[in-house]
Symmetry: C2
Subunit: 82 residues, 2 copies
C-alpha cells in the first residue's frame, strides 16, 4: 500500500535561525508587529510503498536520518497520513 | 494572548519540484526504493500576539500572502496550535 508521509524538519530550538530572523524583520517592515518570533524549516512529503503504517514510518525515519535532516542542527517529526 | 501558528508552504501540485526530484534521486541512490515521490516545501512557525484564534489565523494568512508564499508557484496551509 502507498502511504503519504509528512516530515517536518526544523532548526533545533537552542540554535539561532537566521532565515527566521530575516522573515521576522520583513514582516515588521510590512507593519505586522503582532508577529513575535519566526522559525523556518523544511516540509517534505513522501509517497512510501510499505506493508503497513509502522513500516512506512520506519522508512521515513531512515530517510530523515540519512538524508533529509542534519541532526547537528535540525530535528524532525514524522506523520503518516494514510 | 500568544498563539503558535504553523504554516506549510508547498509547491503547487501541477508544478515540477526539482528539489523534490533531487531528494528522490538521493534516496534511490541510498537504496531506499520504497519511496516513490518527494515534494519539498517550507515549514514556518510564527508566534502571534492576537485576541483570539481567528485573529491569529488572519494575521498568519496575511503574512503568508504578503511575504511567505508565492501564489504563482506555491500554496499554503495554516494551523493554529494554541
Amino acid at each position: 500500500m502507498t502511504y503519504q508521509v509528512q516530515i517536518k524538519v526544523m532548526p533545533l530550538k537552542d540554535l539561532l535561525d537566521p532565515q527566521g530572523k530575516a522573515v521576522l524583520g520583513g514582516l515588521h517592515n510590512l507593519g505586522m508587529s503582532a508577529v513575535g518570533d519566526v522559525r523556518v524549516g523544511k516540509h517534505i512529503t513522501l509517497q512510501v510503498e510499505a506493508a503497513n503504517e509502522d513500516a512506512a514510518k520506519a522508512i521515513a525515519e531512515e530517510a530523515s536520518k540519512k538524508l533529509l535532516a542534519n541532526a547537528v542542527m535540525e530535528y524532525f517529526e514524522i506523520e503518516v497520513v494514510k
